[in-house]
Symmetry: C2
Subunit: 386 residues, 2 copies
């Protein structure tokens, strides 16, 4: 299918449903028009159509379906002239009105370096996060969570002390710890960061604390500044809740703070036929918009996510992405303490494992946390890479 190419383009790869090749091609053409000119053929001057209309560069069968319409792979080139340097217009161009169509999935993007350069990428990145917790290269990292929401600040501090004494690399706030009366943000961050610093000094550990900063943007920027003033090296942000661009704004303002992206409200699943596929959303876009650590829901956890999707996210977190640093994939969401060694063995050393509930349900939280830390440390050989 020979087509004129734009001088510079973002190529978007979609999957769609269509009964046959003609229907697939028609739908692809409609998508390319919808995402760009959004007027009927003939309504715009020919010079505008030539220069700005999205160009369908591929329509190929992807998978036969049993009974329903087949799935097709569709690729569309969008002229970079339609971008304006913002993340909002970038997202609009590749996943705008087509997000209202049924069974359309955005699976990948080929983004020119000139466009990658307009976004911040990770701050500290993998190397910086290792430095933050004094971990050598080739050792997987391990983290746990402060929860549940509803606990008082004192109760949270008590858990934080145990997890720190056990040698966790990172301790994050649960994503539902916001600014509730039971443990208000500033009170909690001040008390927990103090307790972790104290415990680090006593136990010889290097645990870092990541408070949940997710909030309306103006408040979030204040919360990140406050976390930084308390000595925290990073924060948790749920970009689904704040908007992807709000995470980017935090990154631009705080280039040295680690950002752990949490998937709440991310509206994605590897099994879905609609939306943005998890590897692209979590592995590429979150990283491009500033995240250093990418939480996804692990296989065999509380969600039905297949292992291949998890591996695909890992791969993107670590793959070249223009000038940008690599990020840590963070498998989470029901990781069992007893399986910690297994997962870092499967996923390789450049992994940050997150084990929450399975530690917190133990009668001796510190002992179980220590067992997890030791199990992960025992799988440090670089030859076990994913």
């Amino acid at each position: 299918m020979p087509v004129m190419t734009h001088s510079s383009a973002v190529r978007a790869h979609y999957r769609i449903s269509a009964a046959d090749a003609v229907e697939a091609r028609d739908l692809a053409d409609a998508m390319a028009r919808e995402q760009t000119l959004e007027v009927p053929p003939g309504a715009a001057p020919p010079a505008i159509e030539d220069r700005f209309l999205g160009r369908v560069v591929q329509v190929e069968p992807y998978a036969r379906s049993g009974g329903g319409p087949d799935r097709w792979s569709v690729s569309v080139d969008y002229s970079t002239e339609l971008l304006d340097g913002t993340a909002t217009q970038f997202l609009n161009l590749v996943w705008g009105n087509v997000s209202l169509m049924d069974h359309v999935l955005l699976v990948d993007l080929d983004i020119p370096d000139t466009v990658l350069d307009t976004f911040p990428g990770p701050g500290p990145g993998q190397e910086g996060i290792r430095a933050l917790v004094s971990a050598p290269a080739h050792r997987p990292l391990v983290s746990s969570a402060l929860k549940p929401v509803g606990l008082t600040t004192d109760a949270i501090v008590s858990i934080a002390r145990k997890l720190t004494a056990a040698g966790m690399d990172l301790i994050k706030d649960d994503h539902s710890l916001a600014n509730q009366a039971t443990a208000p943000f500033r009170e909690r961050i001040e008390a927990v960061s103090h307790a972790i610093r104290e415990t680090n000094a006593a136990a010889g550990t290097s645990t870092a604390y990541l408070p949940n900063a997710t909030a309306p943007l103006h408040e979030m920027l204040e919360r990140v500044a406050f976390a930084q003033s308390c000595g925290c090296g990073g924060v948790v942000i749920s970009p689904g809740l704040t908007g992807l661009d709000a995470m980017r704004a935090v990154r631009e303002r705080f280039p040295d703070m680690g950002i752990m992206a949490h998937p709440s409200h991310a509206n994605t699943s590897p099994n879905a036929t609609h939306g943005i596929a998890p590897p692209l959303l979590m592995g590429t876009l979150w990283r491009l918009f500033g995240a250093d650590m990418l939480i996804y829901v692990n296989a065999r956890g509380r969600f039905a996510w297949p292992l291949e999707a998890c591996k695909a996210i890992n791969e993107r977190a670590r793959a070249p992405l223009g000038r940008h640093r690599t990020a840590f994939p963070v498998p989470a969401g029901g990781v069992q303490a007893a399986d910690a060694a297994h997962w870092v063995d499967v996923y390789g050393p450049d992994t940050l494992l997150l084990v929450g509930g399975s530690i917190l349900e133990a009668s001796d939280v510190e002992a179980r946390a220590r067992a997890v830390v030791q199990a992960v440390a025992g799988v440090a050989a670089p030859s076990t890479g994913a």
Copy 2:
């Protein structure tokens, strides 16, 4: 199913897929836990479980499926103690990690007035938008769009003059007109608002211009201020692109500016079994977070949205919502000029019809726009209400 109720709760209504009643109940319990405590049963103190765990208050069959698992209606109560006054935590509570599960749909919310009061709702609302364009009650409004992206500012101005002379109530920027070099934001807004003001004076019309302000939040606030300084009574914002909370932030800062919410990147469809259903997202949440005008994709347009979904959005835009004003539903996305009278007849007078491409493809844009304006004005009798 008798359950203890929270003293104050947000009730969320979901649809889920499950093979039988036992599986449905188990999934509902898992969702209620996931959205609140997110630790295994027994890990939290009993007092915390009693006070903060989400409570499943209903699990009922919704629809039989041919072959696959059936659909079930599930309702869960979330204690308002888990809120903190922010939209981000509100969204996290009702649609957080469950957004990562397959075939889970959030269809409705019962929100106590105390919670509704923490969000701004529309600014001018329906009445204010009518006043902006000097339209009496009981007359449907009609709008058109400046597009396609790629046109120069001069070419856009020329279209704006024709649409104004024809008597359009509102003219909006296409949602893809951002800050591209072909028609930079400030240049475009200054030139178009000037041209519309001039044409209004010459033609005796009352057309209002809504520039597209969608951008990163800090930039967006500046763009709205600039639009206001150019005499624009409102703006277009795509909350899917900016994050819902960014639209709320604009509303709080600019209580008098009209906000037309656009569905780009909204990731929703009436046919989907996953996500937030369009009537709740567009009819209730957009309105609650500040929109006065709610663009959705109309039946028989470029998207396969059924008429019932459109009517459900209309109903929510106009229904009581705590202390908040009503909003205009804005059917769009392939509305044919020839069908304009039909749609306002079907949807009733409190409708703002948006006809774009079908006007712009005419050889005489002004004449076709005038025909649409006159057709809509001819269906002004209040007895034709939806």
